[in-house]
């Protein structure tokens, strides 16, 4: 009786990133650093961590805008990133929709906090992606109709 030797797993290739992403990272880091130096020149010499964190936030926002995003789109991206960290299910659903309406109400009442403003921007982006996504187009009914039409025999050719 021969016993099967466990096959050794083939070595996995190291994880890789696309070449253009490598280029983009370098450009992004350079512009972020330059923007951060620029943002930092305006803070007090005895600035502490919160001041530097604010400068970093400003610099990163400017960097995103420099990369070609509209300011609103940059805020939406940051909002979506924040939501992704919060372990919320980001598939568009009634809960997210209700939350977005609640935040819009607060915006109208001018009681929206900065954090909620970012959350609203993120929710708006997720909603837009959902609405514009090809999978959400009302294609199913059209496909059913198409299948029915294909099954129909040609009639009245002689008419």
């Amino acid at each position: 009786v021969t016993t099967k030797q466990p096959k050794s797993e083939p070595p996995q290739p190291p994880e890789a990133i696309p070449g253009h992403a490598d280029d983009w990272i370098r450009q992004c880091v350079k512009h972020f650093e330059l923007n951060l130096v620029d943002a930092t020149r305006r803070i007090a010499l005895d600035a502490e961590d919160p001041d530097l964190q604010m400068a970093a936030a400003r610099a990163f926002l400017v960097t995103l805008i420099d990369s070609g995003l509209q300011p609103d789109s940059a805020l939406e991206l940051l909002g979506q990133a924040a939501l992704e960290r919060s372990s919320v299910d980001l598939a568009w659903n009634d809960v997210l929709n209700q939350r977005r309406f609640a935040l819009i109400d607060k915006e109208i009442q001018e009681t929206l906090t900065p954090a909620e403003s970012t959350e609203l921007a993120g929710l708006t982006r997720i909603m837009r992606e959902h609405v514009e996504g090809e999978t959400n187009l009302p294609m199913e009914g059209a496909k059913v109709l198409h299948r029915k039409l294909l099954r129909l025999k040609p009639q009245g050719d002689s008419d």
């Binding site: 190291p14 890789a16 070449g19 490598d22 280029d23 370098r26 880091v29 350079k30 650093e33 330059l34 130096v37 020149r41 010499l45 005895d46």
Partner: protein, 77 residues
Amino acid sequence: MSELAEFRVDVDAATALVHWKSRFADEVATRARQLAAESGQPNHVTLTHYRQAAQLAIRSLAGAILDGDPSSDDKAA
């Protein structure tokens, strides 16, 4: 005033460092791609390529820093 406030860095010095780092990174990436192409795998850049490219880039960076840009003010000082 805290001790921290007594230590300062000129903005042009900080900016020059950003440019040097960027120049070094760009040079490493460019040379690594050349090395990958020469080694017969133009579509796959490895850590070995980056390591070799970094050694070459360090030498050219040293020349670029001495040449002045973008901190040529240092020479005048």
